[in-house]
């Protein structure tokens, strides 16, 4: 593989950049693989990369219905954080933070990781108490957290509404300084390029039609580009999880819902943090291009539409304007929607299943992007060793049966309720 470096950049400049190698190949599917990963998104590509890198399993195919990186990894709000209270979520996410910090070097691909910090705003004394508790829990798990009072928040984000007579005055906030953002597409492309260089076949425009299961064991997968014999299949299909689960006669604690995001026209640098509203569901950051990147609630009813409805967008932006009134002056550049695999306790599932050789990675709700490296790393371990790693032990499928839910937000079984 051609290394990306300043020297190769200069060298290729002499050829008008016409002689760069392709970043990944376009292979025809083989008849048999050791492992097939279904879903060429961030998590699937990362899984294949760590299978090759950490476990030396390179006879791997990623099969993707569309094109790689064309799903949620290409349309999220790029936030990376580990500000969780529960141990299982905190330790998993903080392990991921380490992988994020090393990612550009590791992949030889600039993922533009920008640890600019995230602030969750608090709008009451009670909320400050809750944040103090969460911050303390984070610190006990080795994650950086700072509780900010009103004046400290004002110093960092003076453009927020600090007037006294508003419905939700800012009392303070909880900051994780090491949180941030990254270039989402680069993450998918970086993992794809490295996985490909280690021998992984990235097969695009290849839809899964069915599975060959015999005696409770995986025997193969049937695709639009032919049947493939394989003993181990990893399912990494986010919003399409329910559709594939149905082909496997499985019913999962997952519902498919639509989440919207939007960007404003680009403006000069104004906001150098990720900020979340504490009295509703709204988050904002500014991209390197200057656009304000915003998101919030689900549309609220089961959906595969991949486009949103206006009432939710209006609701989310009302919250945004309440938090930062200057937003009302901006024009909207783009809005879009993607379909999320909403689990019933708001936490993901990375586990084996009752079918031998079938592994499940789903339930990422609002937080799939930041989990990309840790999800790939632990899923690769689960597939390669046929047992879960301690980092994803809490993300087991059985917890819904035993009652050991990971209900970080305390929302109960209906995570789509806003």
């Amino acid at each position: 593989m051609q290394k990306y470096s300043i020297f190769n950049l200069i060298k290729n400049a002499f050829f008008n950049h016409q002689k760069w190698d392709l970043a990944w190949k376009d292979p025809t599917p083989k008849k048999e693989y050791d492992v097939v990963i279904i879903g060429g998104g961030g998590h699937g590509l990362a899984t294949a990369y760590y299978l090759a890198k950490e476990h030396n399993i390179t006879n791997v195919a990623i099969i993707e219905k569309g094109w790689i990186g064309g799903g949620n990894v290409g349309r999220n709000t790029t936030i990376i954080r580990s500000n969780y209270m529960h141990d299982d979520n905190a330790l998993f996410s903080e392990f991921g933070m380490d992988l994020w910090r090393k990612m550009s070097q590791d992949l030889n691909y600039n993922v533009m990781f920008s640890p600019r910090g995230i602030i969750n705003l608090a709008h009451s004394d009670a909320q400050m108490n809750v944040y103090a508790r969460r911050g303390n829990s984070m610190r006990l798990n080795g994650i950086d957290a700072e509780l900010l009072d009103r004046e400290q928040v004002r110093e960092i984000i003076p453009m927020a509404d600090f007037s006294e007579n508003v419905r939700f005055p800012i009392f303070g906030g909880l900051m994780q300084p090491s949180a941030g953002t990254a270039r989402h597409d680069a993450v998918a492309w970086g993992y794809a390029r490295q996985a490909d260089s280690m021998g992984v076949d990235i097969i695009q425009n290849c839809e899964v039609i069915g599975f060959d299961i015999s005696g409770g064991k995986v025997e193969g997968v049937r695709t639009s580009r032919g049947d493939i014999k394989v003993k181990k299949i990893g399912l990494c299909v986010a919003g399409s999880t329910n559709i594939l689960a149905d082909k496997l006669n499985m019913t999962l604690p997952i519902e498919t819902h639509l989440l919207q995001a939007c960007v404003s026209e680009p403006v000069k640098p104004v906001l150098d943090k990720v900020v979340t509203f504490g009295a509703g569901h709204f988050y904002i950051s500014q991209s390197d291009k200057g656009e304000m990147v915003m998101g919030g609630d689900l549309d609220g009813y089961n959906s595969y539409a991949q486009r949103g409805n206006l009432p939710t967008l209006q609701h989310v932006l009302t919250e945004g304007i309440a938090m930062m009134p200057f937003l009302s002056k901006l024009k909207m550049l783009r809005t879009w929607g993607g379909i999320m695999d909403m689990s019933m306790d708001g936490s993901p599932i990375i586990d084996k299943t009752h079918i031998e050789g079938l592994y499940l990675n789903c339930g990422w709700c609002y937080g799939g992007f930041k989990a990309t490296p840790a999800s790939g790393w632990t899923f690769a371990h689960t597939i390669a060793q046929d047992r879960v790693h301690e980092l994803n032990a809490g993300y087991n499928l059985n917890r819904f049966n035993t009652g050991h839910l990971l209900d970080e937000k305390g929302l109960g079984t209906k995570t789509w309720i806003s």
């Binding site: 559709i243 604690p253 089961n302 409805n309 019933m344 819904f400 049966n401 079984t413 209906k414």
Partner: protein
């Protein structure tokens, strides 16, 4: 925006309704031996497929009745709406 025909009030905008999820899920019968798996299926497990979906909505800012709506989860086309106690077969 969705327009939902409430069987009690007529055509209304989505803003007046709140969503209640899959309407085909049945609570296990009281007074019977119920397995953990049955409870699991009632509380957590959902098909949530692409296409026709029978679901509950509540006309929260209207008559406050729960109703059943048959809607396509990909196109949002609404095929029919029923009172909560009406048979959907």
């Amino acid at each position: 925006m969705l327009h939902i025909k409430c069987p009690h009030c007529g055509m209304r905008s989505q803003n007046e309704f709140s969503y209640g999820g899959d309407a085909t899920v049945k609570r296990p019968e009281l007074g019977k031996e119920i397995s953990d798996q049955d409870w699991d299926n009632f509380v957590y497990n959902r098909k949530s497929l692409r296409g026709k979906h029978l679901e509950l909505w509540q006309h929260l800012s209207g008559c406050r009745q729960w109703i059943k709506v048959e809607r396509d989860t990909a196109t949002h086309e609404i095929f029919r709406t029923l009172k909560a106690n009406e048979d959907n077969s």
